[in-house]
Symmetry: C2
Subunit: 345 residues, 2 copies
Amino acid sequence: MRAKTAIMQKKGNFKMGIIKLKNRVCVSAVASVCGKKEYDGLLGAFFDEHSDDDTFGRPTFEQAEEEMQRRCFAHALKKSGLTQNDIDAIFAGDLMNQCTASSYGLLDYGRQYFGLFGACSTMAEAVLLSALTVDGGYFERCAAIVSSHNCTAERQFRMPIEYGGQRTPTAQWTVTGSGCAIIDGGGSGMYIKDVLPGIPVDRGVNDAANMGAAMAPAAAHTIKRYFDESGRSPDDFDVILTGDLGEEGHGLTTELLAYEGCSLGSNHLDCGMLLYKPEQDVHSGGSGCGCSALGLCTYLFERFKNKEIKNALFIGTGALMSPMSVAQGHSIPGIAHLIHFSSEV
Amino acid sequence: MRAKTAIMQKKGNFKMGIIKLKNRVCVSAVASVCGKKEYDGLLGAFFDEHSDDDTFGRPTFEQAEEEMQRRCFAHALKKSGLTQNDIDAIFAGDLMNQCTASSYGLLDYGRQYFGLFGACSTMAEAVLLSALTVDGGYFERCAAIVSSHNCTAERQFRMPIEYGGQRTPTAQWTVTGSGCAIIDGGGSGMYIKDVLPGIPVDRGVNDAANMGAAMAPAAAHTIKRYFDESGRSPDDFDVILTGDLGEEGHGLTTELLAYEGCSLGSNHLDCGMLLYKPEQDVHSGGSGCGCSALGLCTYLFERFKNKEIKNALFIGTGALMSPMSVAQGHSIPGIAHLIHFSSEV
């Protein structure tokens, strides 16, 4: 019973739960922009643009991250044959303090704007809120855009990269990348069938160099809630794609769910484990808002496009701490938002 | 034509625009918690709780801010006769890096959670997204909760308060306070009739000690869009309540709109000018997420409750910068989300 308590410690009121969309809503187009390391990785062929020096021609890394979002949105518009005027609202966020990569990066488009902060789960949060507001008929079309940049994140959350600090084996590599998904009330693509908003879960992990362990209980919590409530099982999905648990968090999530009799099997993939080659030495895997966004906007979208899969769960995972909260002795809460994509309307 | 250009520089596609709610949705209950200075101010009698030393019994100011959100939500639940299980989702945010006041403060309630970052406009963003998701039938009842704390904001955005830095005349005082509004698909209270999401606007203001000037163009932009599209005029509203423009921003907004032939008149109030007594020496007025939240959850709600007003516009204003973006020479974009409240369903 130990693990049962661990995953489902708080029994909520399950009015709160899976939301089935009423209308045809899909991710009709995606775009992705990344850094050199990501381009050299396993999914290099699928990105729309990369920067060989991670600066995107801008004088600071913070402005490089803004530029990634700006270009990523431009690619998504171009690929879908839309202009910015066809987008009713943008849901965006990033890891930088006060989410400035999003607010500055997307400023020139002059669109209605909702800033989000879900840490590394922000892409899932943005897609989820876009899906609900499009499904409800409030917007015809939204864009979900997020980013992270290794150099902005490292100097903000840990040390400037020039310091050359040693990384622990459970550490993850903050992805330099931005992903954009167009969520559309018309068109075709990956259809969004239902969604499950995450509940923050804190199981006392306070090692800021082990985000996988901090987020695994939240991922397990959301996945367990989803299968319990829907009556579906992992076998009903061709892919169960988590955001950025990395090897450590992937293993822990599998273990926590196994205690509950829920076996995810070989369909459970994690974006943090899809991006880099083994020789790229990223330790436990990729992380950051850009990690799940790149996984969603390349791997998952491509597999649907190629008709290789019919149903997938995308579970964005985030660690809701700050350097200050960790310094003050707080443990690290995680959150995981879930989206069920299907090839059929 | 100068001012016309200044306000409406970017003509968007006005599919994007006012969203009229389809169903009965209201703010059925509110709560507010604040610091000593706010308690000593003009609205002192209306707050549910305050702390005489602004710590709320916690060892750090950051944890004090978390505690404010925790207690504020508890007050809102108690006043409305609800338990946390009656709340399907929380939309929350604050000014602290990575929005930790919200994620830690609300963790123990175990609710579905959407983290937002709209700077000082976050309360309006939270109420707006709660309204759409309740109206669409996705949630029965949501909570919009935000906070700011003078001591966490000052040391993060400017200097530790112990430094005793001189403040410029246009500077505003970050409010120590948290507000919570329950957005309900049933019940009664302030009914939400329509909403208008904000578009970020940057008119080149780069003085981080003059947030009013940075936000005024965004406030004017949203207000102008609203009156243009709805065909209504300022006279149709008993109160037009902006979030935290302060005296400087209030004056600039009035001036920008006057150039367009739009006179807000004496009904235009600003939460930043409602909270403190003149002798409290806050220079241009209050600011921060807590500022508009306290104004909404005390002044505006009370006036509706006492049947003194029938229609009001609430326009949450935010400055979407960070200390890093200002240090790197960026100007400061503002945003303003609008909500139309009415005494009638």
